[in-house]
């Protein structure tokens, strides 16, 4: 007689904890053939705001950690992802209906991308920063640093690769993120939250919301404590209105991308969420 399986409750991930939506709402996640797979929390405006508060509180610790430290913490996530490979493959197979080998190659690619970004944490300042030869007795240096809280609408047609490709680059420089997962394919995102919770990433650095991006995104785009908005997965939303809302606080905004090339790994995805700080210091005349 076969054993009765124990299904998982998929919840939100805010401030290092796994709350249900304060609204009490859930929505059904379906498998590839339309059958019931799970109930996911349907995040509300208040959940989004709570997530921004958690993200803001985490900015100082994460952005002031050394690049070497952030790199190791991010690498550790890849290690844990590798250990949970089977779980991610199962979820991708169930929700996307692909073969285990296709799902496996997706997980592998996601892990490799994560490692690629982890390695940038103590290097991007060298590549994107510079010493400036000003015409005067000054030490002058320009260095990129984290912009702060980044709100992300994750790619909607991908379980894991899209999510990782949007979240990892924002973390490299020390930003904290509030990310709205794929509405249809959120299971990998929540499982990734379990990885994050057991890794060394401080609570609040990554906050994950599931539910309706169309409902949540406007609250993030108009939130005065969000510094940047990545609309990579927002092509099916009214993203122009989101851009207009984001203009109110001069948010840094990345436009929607679609297709298999969305959010390809690049240094530009890291520097998009940085600010260049230029410091002048006098040199004495000796």
């Amino acid at each position: 007689m076969s054993r009765l399986a124990v299904p998982k409750t998929y919840k939100l991930y805010i401030g290092g904890k796994f709350p249900r939506s304060e609204s009490g709402r859930v929505y059904e996640i379906l498998d590839a053939s339309g059958g019931f797979l799970a109930n996911a929390a349907q995040a509300s405006r208040k959940d989004a705001r709570d997530a921004v508060v958690a993200a803001r509180n985490a900015v100082s610790g994460w952005s002031n950690a050394t690049g070497y430290n952030r790199g190791q913490v991010l690498y550790r996530i890849a290690e844990l992802l590798e250990g949970r490979r089977a779980q991610f493959i199962d979820e991708i197979v169930a929700s996307e209906g692909v073969s285990p080998s296709v799902a496996g190659s997706q997980v592998d690619e996601a892990i490799d991308r994560w490692i690629w970004y982890a390695g940038w944490a103590d290097k991007y300042t060298q590549v994107a920063g510079n010493a400036n030869a000003v015409s005067g007795p000054y030490f002058n240096i320009s260095v990129p640093e984290a912009t702060g809280v980044v709100a992300i609408i994750a790619p909607q047609d991908s379980s894991l690769i899209g999510f990782v490709s949007a979240v990892a680059p924002a973390l490299v420089a020390g930003n904290t993120v509030v990310v709205v997962a794929s509405q249809r394919l959120p299971l990998s995102a929540i499982s990734l939250a379990e990885v994050l919770a057991t890794s060394d990433v401080p609570g609040g650095v990554v906050n994950i919301l599931t539910g309706s991006p169309a409902e949540i995104a406007p609250w993030l785009a108009s939130h005065a404590d969000v510094n940047a908005l990545d609309l990579v997965g927002a092509s099916d939303l009214d993203w122009i209105s989101l851009q207009i809302a984001a203009a109110e606080t001069l948010m840094r905004v990345l436009p929607p991308e679609s297709g298999p090339d969305a959010a390809l790994p690049s240094l530009a995805r890291i520097t998009a969420f940085t600010e260049t700080k230029t410091v002048w210091h006098t040199k004495s005349l000796i």
């Binding site: 190659s105 400036n132 005067g136 320009s142 207009i244 390809l264 240094l267 230029t278 210091h281 006098t282």
Partner: protein, 500 residues
């Protein structure tokens, strides 16, 4: 005559050979504008200088068409080396006509001749010289190999550094291979029109640089023109917001250099003599019409009274008056409108309980003038500690610990500049790390250089001007989708799966 009184030493305006009326500069020629002309005046005397054309949306369209044609037919086909040579020519012409440009700038803007002569115009030449050398080295601009120009750039600049802001916009744009349509500020169009003559003298292909004069409507027509690929704006945060909103959903690349409320932090171990000079330079340079001005002075509590006292003594020696006089330190406020704003905010400061002080100084009867002013006992919630005044008004606050200084400095929606004064290098570097501002001056203030990126955090805008970063703002990667990635591309099969 006391030792502080000087005989007048006005710079001669004889070398200015102004026309009585200026048209729009479109496709290499001056043409009449369609809308009614307006007058540009000297803010020091309110006297008429020249009649200026006002560009209608049809004129703006003609300018954008000229820029597009020039981009398609000449400029984008020119080698980087030759683009660079044109920019070097411009740099030299600016140097040759430096005095004339400085006089015109002080006349039209109201800034002291020693600033236009020693700061603005030399930096204009430096900016063109610096970016000229970039034109054939774009592979090193940081956007990957074979970057491409964006196309036609729409540029709208403010009145505080009219010719310098023009250089900040036009030099990197042309070096990167773009053509431009630039709108100078309504109250300071003169030097941009002289620059148009320089463009002619340099033999730049027609349409590469177009100058359209006018007010807000002209600017709106320009940035919203559908055939523009890039918008660069320097000015107020409210207009920056409006532009960001109106560009939503377009593919136009946008950089914004907006307002500020810079903190100038003086620690008790600062070199006080230099700090006093730096405070003065930070807020009274260019009448405080500087987006990166150090308009909030944060002084460590134990030296507060001493600093205020010495500052008052120093302000007593500032000479306010004729911008064309070589001894003038503080010139005229640029416009009646701006003067009104400064007066209103200063009155609010007083009403909110801050203590107002200005040195005794005689202000000319005509023109727009505001005496250097400091406020003590300013609370962090006061309007004069939060709003950008954009005038010669300094708000002084105190702090006890570095942590408090940092918290107060960052307590603003802006994030353009900050200053730190201390003789302790390790303290300066630690504080600089924690300040949320794009430009930080340690033991100096209001320094600018074409190789040094400039721009803000938060609501002070985005993008950088100056340096490699300022060049990249006018470039795109070789082709869409090709990013500087080093990750082995093993993604295709995995992503096909994701599409199912």
């Amino acid at each position: 005559m006391s030792f502080l009184e000087y005989a007048p030493a006005p710079e001669s305006t004889a070398l200015l050979n102004l026309q009585s009326e200026y048209g729009l500069f479109i496709n290499g020629e001056f043409v009449a504008g369609s809308d009614p002309t307006f007058s540009t005046i000297s803010p020091a005397t309110e006297k008429h200088i020249a009649t200026i054309a006002q560009a209608s949306s049809a004129d703006v369209d003609a300018a954008v068409k000229a820029a597009r044609t020039a981009y398609d037919t000449t400029w984008s086909r020119l080698s980087g080396r030759d683009r660079g040579k044109y920019l070097f020519r411009i740099a030299r012409l600016v140097q040759e006509r430096a005095r004339e440009l400085a006089v015109a700038e002080s006349l039209d803007n109201g800034k002291p001749i020693k600033e236009s002569r020693d700061v603005d115009v030399p930096l204009v030449a430096a900016w063109f010289f610096y970016y000229a050398g970039w034109a054939d080295k774009l592979d090193h601009a940081g956007v990957g190999p074979n970057p491409r120009a964006l196309g036609v750039a729409a540029q709208v600049i403010p009145w505080n550094f009219p010719l310098l802001m023009l250089a900040w916009k036009i030099a990197p744009a042309l070096a990167a291979g773009n053509t431009v349509v630039l709108k100078p500020a309504e109250t300071t169009p003169l030097t941009a029109l002289l620059f148009a003559e320089i463009v002619q003298q340099a033999g730049l292909p027609a349409g590469v640089v177009n100058i359209v004069t006018g007010a807000g409507e002209t600017g709106r027509a320009l940035v919203n023109h559908p055939d523009v690929n890039k918008v660069a704006f320097t000015g107020s945060t409210s207009v920056g917001r409006e532009i960001a909103r109106s560009l939503a959903g377009t593919s136009k690349k946008l950089t914004l250099e907006l307002g500020g409320k810079g903190a100038n932090i003086v620690f008790d171990d600062a070199p006080i003599d230099q700090a006093i000079e730096g405070i003065v330079r930070g807020i009274f340079f260019n009448q405080g019409h500087v987006c990166c001005a150090g308009s909030r002075l944060l002084v460590q509590e134990n030296i507060h009274d001493e600093v205020v006292e010495r500052l008052k003594t120093r302000l007593g020696t500032l000479r306010v008056g004729d911008p064309l006089d070589k001894n003038t330190d503080v010139g005229a406020i640029n416009s009646a409108e701006q003067l009104q704003r400064i007066r209103t905010l200063s009155d609010i400061g007083e009403a909110e309980g801050a203590e107002r002080w200005s040195p005794a100084c005689d202000l000319p009867e005509n023109g727009f003038w505001f005496a250097p002013t400091i406020f003590t006992n300013v609370s962090t919630s006061s309007r004069i500690a939060r709003d950008e005044i954009f005038g010669p008004v300094l708000s002084i606050l105190s702090f006890r610990t570095p942590a408090e200084a940092i918290a107060k400095a960052n307590n603003t929606p802006y994030g353009l500049s900050a200053g730190i004064w201390s003789d302790k290098g390790s303290k300066i570097l630690a504080v600089a790390d924690k300040l949320r501002a794009g430009v930080i001056w340690a033991n100096t203030f209001n320094q600018f250089d074409p190789s040094s990126p400039f721009g803000g955090y938060k609501e002070s805008g985005y993008g950088r001007e100056g340096g490699k970063q300022g060049l990249a703002a006018y470039l795109a990667p070789a082709a869409f989708g090709s990013s500087p990635t080093a990750l082995p591309v093993s993604t295709s099969s995995a992503l096909e799966g994701a599409d199912k």
